[in-house]
Symmetry: C2
Subunit: 306 residues, 2 copies
C-alpha cells in the first residue's frame, strides 16, 4: 500500500508526476533550490495542457526534513543523480525508489547509496516547465517500468497501478532492459546528432535517398548501437531506426534535450547516454567508430562553452 510518494527533483518530468499523483496520494517533493520548495508550498503546482489541475504539495529543499514515504520517484537530471542519491543515503528505509533518468546506469548510482528495492523506468512523457509552479503536459505517452535486481514484479505492478490511477500512462514489464537499450540507442544517436547539427528531430534524420543524406549516418549509428545491445544480452525491444522514422514522420521536429542544453551552454547528459554506450561497447569488445566520434564531438562541444 503506497500512502505517500516523494518526488525527488521537480523539473518537467518530476512536476508532471507530482501534480498528477497528488490527486490520489500524499506527495512530498524534494527540490534542489530552497525558493522552489517555498513557491510550491505557498502556491501549489499547476498543470496545464492535456490535464488542468492544481496540486497541494509538501515541498522542501532539505532532505532531513522529508517525511517517511513508500515510493520515491527520482526525477533529477542524470548529471545531478550522484549528489541527489547521496542526499538520500540513510533515509526512507522502507521506501522503494524508481529511477527515470535517460541513459544507462542510474540504478547503479542509487544502489551505491542504499539497499532500497529499485524499479527501473523510462518515460516518454513530455512537457514544458513554465515556472517553478507551472508545467504544461504536452505528450501523454507512457512511462515504462520494470524490476531492478530482486525487486518483486508485484511491487512494480503496484506502482504501475498507482501511476495509472493518477491519470498518467504507465506499463510494467518483467524485463525492462531491451526497452532501455532501444531508448539508449535512439537517444544517443538523435540527441548527439541534434546537438551537433542544431537540427530538431525532423525529416532530415530519416532521409536516405542520397548517399550523403543525414539518415544514412543516423541509420549507421543506430546499427552500431544495436550491435552493442545484442552483445550486452538484452538486445533492443524496438528497432531504434523504426522509432526514428516513426517519430520524424509526425511532422514538426521535437527539440531533443541535448540540443537545448548545448544551445543554453548547459552540461548535457552525454556521459550517461553516449558515454554509457561507448563504455559498454569497450567492455564487450564491440567496435563502434561512428558512435565514438559522436561522443567525442559532443564532449568537445561542451568544452567550447564560454
Amino acid at each position: 500500500m503506497i500512502g505517500r510518494v516523494c518526488i525527488v527533483g521537480a523539473g518537467t518530468i518530476g512536476s508532471l508526476f507530482a501534480g498528477h499523483l497528488a490527486q490520489v496520494v500524499d506527495v512530498c517533493v524534494l527540490t534542489r533550490r530552497r525558493e522552489h520548495a517555498q513557491a510550491l508550498d505557498e502556491h501549489g503546482l499547476r498543470v496545464t495542457g492535456r490535464t488542468e489541475l492544481t496540486a497541494r504539495l509538501d515541498a522542501t529543499a532539505d532532505p532531513s526534513a522529508l517525511p517517511q514515504f513508500d515510493l520515491g520517484i527520482v526525477c533529477c537530471k542524470g548529471t545531478d543523480l550522484e549528489t541527489v542519491a547521496a542526499s538520500l543515503e540513510g533515509r526512507a528505509a522502507q521506501a522503494t525508489l524508481m529511477t527515470v533518468q535517460n541513459g544507462l546506469g542510474a540504478e547503479g548510482v542509487v544502489r551505491r547509496h542504499g539497499d532500497w528495492p529499485l524499479i527501473s523506468a523510462i518515460t516518454f512523457m513530455s512537457g514544458t516547465r513554465h515556472s517553478d509552479t507551472e508545467v504544461e503536459y504536452i505528450l501523454d505517452t507512457a512511462t515504462w517500468l520494470g524490476p531492478y535486481e530482486e525487486t518483486p514484479l508485484a511491487r512494480v505492478r503496484e506502482v504501475e497501478a498507482l501511476i495509472r490511477s493518477s491519470g498518467l500512462r504507465a506499463q510494467a514489464f518483467e524485463d525492462l532492459r531491451p526497452l532501455q537499450w532501444s531508448k539508449l540507442v535512439f537517444n544517443a544517436t538523435v540527441n548527439g546528432v541534434a546537438a551537433l547539427t542544431g537540427l530538431p528531430h525532423d525529416f532530415h534524420f530519416a532521409s536516405e535517398a542520397e548517399p550523403t543524406d543525414l539518415g544514412r549516418l543516423v541509420h549507421a549509428l543506430m546499427e552500431e548501437g544495436t550491435a552493442v545491445a545484442q552483445a550486452a544480452g538484452p538486445g533492443t525491444a524496438d528497432d531504434p531506426w523504426e522509432m526514428n522514422v516513426h517519430a520524424t514522420g509526425r511532422g514538426s521536429g521535437h527539440y531533443p534535450s541535448m540540443l537545448e542544453d548545448v544551445n543554453a551552454e548547459r552540461p548535457t547528459e552525454v556521459e550517461s547516454i553516449n558515454g554509457a554506450l561507448v563504455r559498454e561497447a569497450e567492455r564487450l569488445g564491440v567496435e563502434i567508430p561512428l558512435q565514438r566520434s559522436l561522443y567525442a564531438l559532443v564532449r568537445a562541444r561542451e568544452a567550447s562553452y564560454s
Copy 2:
C-alpha cells in the same frame, strides 16, 4: 612581363594581394558589390598590421569594364567561384589566372569557362577585414603556387617573383598537388570539427591522452584523408597531423572559416573541402566512414539555418 594584375574578389585574401601588389604593378579589382568598388575607387585600400600602406586601385563591379590584364588572381570564396568564373568567360584572353580557393577542383571550375593558362595556389596568409577599404594583415605566411596542366613553370616563377617583390611571401613548386592534399586533409578535418563543436583550433585538437580525447578522432580523420591522398597519387607533402599539432601548439586557437560561417549561418565551403574529399574517396574506392560522417553532419548543420 606582368604589367597589370586583376584581383578577382576583394575579401581578406584578395585585399591583401591587392594592397601589396599595387605597390609594384598596376592593380585592378573586380568586386561583387558596386558600393565596394566605389569605396575602393574613392578611398583606396588601407593595409594595417604587419604592413602599413595605402594603395590606389581601379575597382569595378562590372566585368565588362575591366581593362586588359596579364595576371588574374581569383580570390573569391569557393561558393562564388562558378559565378565569378562565368563572368570572366571570353575576357582577358592573354591573361594567366591563378586560383587560391580552399579545397579541390577550383582550377577545373575556371577551366570550364576559358582556356587561360592556370596556376594552382594555396595561401596560408591570414588577416581580418575591418571594412571595404581596410584589411589587417595578421599572419605573414606564404602562398604556395604551381603549374596546372600545361602552364610553364617559368610563368609560375614569374608570378612568385612578382608576389615576393610586393612584400608578401610566396614559394613556387613543380608539383603543388601533394601540398594541396596536405591542406585539404587538414582543412576538411579542422574546419569540420570546429564547425560542429564550436571550438577554435586549440589544444583539444591535439589531445590524445585519454581514449575519448578529441585528438584521437582528429588523428583518425586525418589518417582517413591521407589514405585518399595516397590512393589519388600525389599523397601528402606534409603530414596533416603534424601540421595540426604544430598549429595548435602556438597557443590561442585560430577560428577556422567554417566555424565563423556556421556561427553567422552563412553557406560554408563544405562542398569544395569535405565534399571534394568524400567524392575522391568514392571515385577511388577508399572507405572513409569518419570523414563521411563529418561531411554529413556539417551539411546538416547548414540545413538547420533558420
